[in-house]
Chain length 394, copies 2
């Protein structure tokens, strides 16, 4: 099995602590040898899990050193005990590293409303440190999984300031996924030296163009978190937004987050197809976004995409009840390159065969032109099969 | 088979015109012997089917005489041809009755974007008139069905101004159902004499408390229509909002629409359970409504309700991402009479057995108290099973 190349000065571990069923990895650890600059974005859900409330404090602190993750229990809606448990987890990891607990991010994902099994978490943290290695990144990605079928990770290597730099991303997410924001867990570690404010900006930009553009089921979770750590081990001059290599860094970060986001959509609970919904010609970008989300989140569309019929009526219906202004007789809809709707009606020369072929593919794009203005937006989603229901009934 | 008692002066028919597959009823007709006062509410979707655009004109006209309905084809997104086809249908029925076409409502439900098969519609209208009878109300209800499993109808008898009055309701709806508004077809016919403005008010009030409070899948259709016809055959003094029996009439109308709405939820595509989501203690009624809809439309909740676990974490999550203000530590959740959440956390004395028993019932209510203010709202929804996906993939 290949290992995941981590940037210089980072190590990781993923182990089975017994939180989920036996012998399934459920705790992960990512450690930077040296204090790292950190940036993070968190769920916009008003109900925020204890580790999210903790993370909001950690990112304000100088010199992050580690991220402790558990799956199988979200530590959400757990009150003061939940906050105390998150803090205790951070204290334990901080002791092993000889640092302040405020240098330790903690993330939880899984069932809401159950207290963390702290005896297992405590033992788990010890085992994680015993298993720390620069080779164990994949174990960490695996240990974050809940209903995910595959671990999600990616590494890029670029040159910044003449120095080789590595950026590695790990993520989990499959259900309870809707953009704004992350609605999943994502970690980006790099050995580049990056100024804190610049890193936060870059993470926000890259998140908006990736995790915030995907939707599996329209539900926003209580625990969503994306954290970036930059430890400077590459030895480059501190990256700021004015530095000549900034764009390369930002583009690489965007690419990594985008790839991770696509892995999540592809691994959407029960999903077998990735559908890109692209709206152009809206009165504004905001309206284009609303129309695209309306289409992408419609259960009638998501189930239609599990079949092999274009079913554009359900698309135009969802556009119509979105908050975007539309004029029925101006709407054009095209599947990849196959026109289906022109001026709000079935395109008379449409090739039914080509349309069926297009929507039967593993991935296709629905182009919706409202022909009203210059607003545009794109949302990435997946189809909804009976499997989605099976997974969530259980 | 029982027939549906229609009010005095109304007759109906339901026949197979060949729009759907062979020998399945797909056209309905309701006729008033004399000009009736009409009221109507229509879909708020920006994409409105041709028959909706036609109905908006008819309801402004004095003396409605008939409603022609077809299932199997929505006549939506069909442009000028669609508008001409609706008008031609009205003209045909108007000729049979010797009246102006503007006295004829036309409704269509079914597939979007396909031209109406006018040869079948034309022949169907003729057959409908040949089959008109005061005994054929149930046939009409059956002919409106699309994915409905059962026809939906109900009759009430009351005394207004000392005269016996009958109010009969027919409806169809199963998928593409979300309130605001009707997102289905509903017809109310009565022999009461009712002043037009009062009838419109009553229909609006009753719709807001019934069809606008149900949700099957959160999709608003292009064709939703509720029409009320009052032909005055009962011989009562013209009912206005000042008349002493007004409240009895309004309450009966509300009851009929509510019962029809509940039939639609119960017959939701693939549904096996009716779930009432009741939010109280919100900062405003509007916020309560938003929180209730957020819970009722969450796929994670709807699939959870197909199982037998309370899964309140998904409820509090959906409340949290709604636009309603919430304070996590104030939220209480109770299933029927079984408390599950107090102060945003699992109720320590909750009986898991009682909770499981409650959510295993055919119908139960989720009471959510935000404990912030006096706002309240209720939404009626159903669970989502694999069957829903199966139906909509096909």
């Amino acid at each position: 099995m290949n290992h995941l190349p981590l940037p210089n000065g980072f190590s990781a571990a993923g182990i089975a602590a017994g939180i989920k069923k036996k012998n399934v990895k459920d705790m992960a650890l990512i450690v930077s040898d040296v204090p790292a600059v950190s940036a993070a974005v968190f769920t916009t859900n008003q109900i925020k899990a204890a580790p999210v409330m903790w993370g909001i404090q950690v990112v304000e602190h100088v010199g992050a050193r580690a991220i402790v993750v558990n799956s199988g229990n979200a530590n959400a809606c757990t009150g003061r005990q939940g906050a105390a448990d998150t803090k205790a987890t951070a204290i334990l990891a901080a002791k092993r590293l000889g640092v302040d607990p405020k240098n330790i991010f903690v993330c939880s994902t899984g069932t809401i409303g159950k207290p963390l099994p702290m005896n297992k978490i405590n033992a788990g943290v010890e085992t994680l440190f015993e298993n720390l290695s620069t080779e164990n990144g994949l174990d960490a990605a695996e240990a974050m999984m809940t209903t995910d079928l595959v671990p999600k990770s990616i590494t890029a290597e670029i040159e910044i300031d003449g120095k080789p730099v590595r950026i590695t991303g790990l993520a989990k997410g499959s259900g309870m996924i809707e953009p704004n924001m992350a609605t999943m867990l994502g970690y980006i570690v790099t050995d580049a030296a990056v100024e804190k404010h610049a890193l936060q900006c870059a993470l926000r930009i890259a998140t908006n163009a990736s995790f915030n553009r995907i939707s599996v089921d329209g539900d926003q979770s209580t625990n969503d978190t994306v954290i970036a750590l930059a430890n400077g081990k590459a030895g480059n001059e501190l990256l700021t937004q004015d530095f000549k290599d900034w764009n390369l860094f930002l583009q690489t970060l965007e690419k990594i987050l985008f790839e991770l986001a696509m892995m999540i959509v592809k691994d959407g609970e029960g999903a077998t197809r990735v559908v890109t919904v692209r709206v152009i010609g809206a009165a504004s970008n905001g309206e284009a976004d609303d129309a695209a989300r309306s289409v992408a989140n419609s259960m009638l569309n998501k189930t239609a995409w599990a079949g092999t019929r274009p079913n554009w009526g359900r698309i135009i219906d969802a556009v119509g009840y979105s908050s975007a202004q539309v004029q029925e007789n101006k709407i054009d809809i095209t599947y990849d390159a196959a026109p289906a709707v022109r001026g709000g009606m079935a395109f008379t020369e449409a090739s039914e065969e080509e349309l069926v072929k297009t929507v039967s593919k593993d991935a296709f794009t629905i182009h919706i032109n409202l022909n009203l203005g210059n607003g545009e937006a794109v949302v990435y989603t997946c189809n909804c099969t009976e499997k989605y229901v099976q997974i969530n009934v259980e």
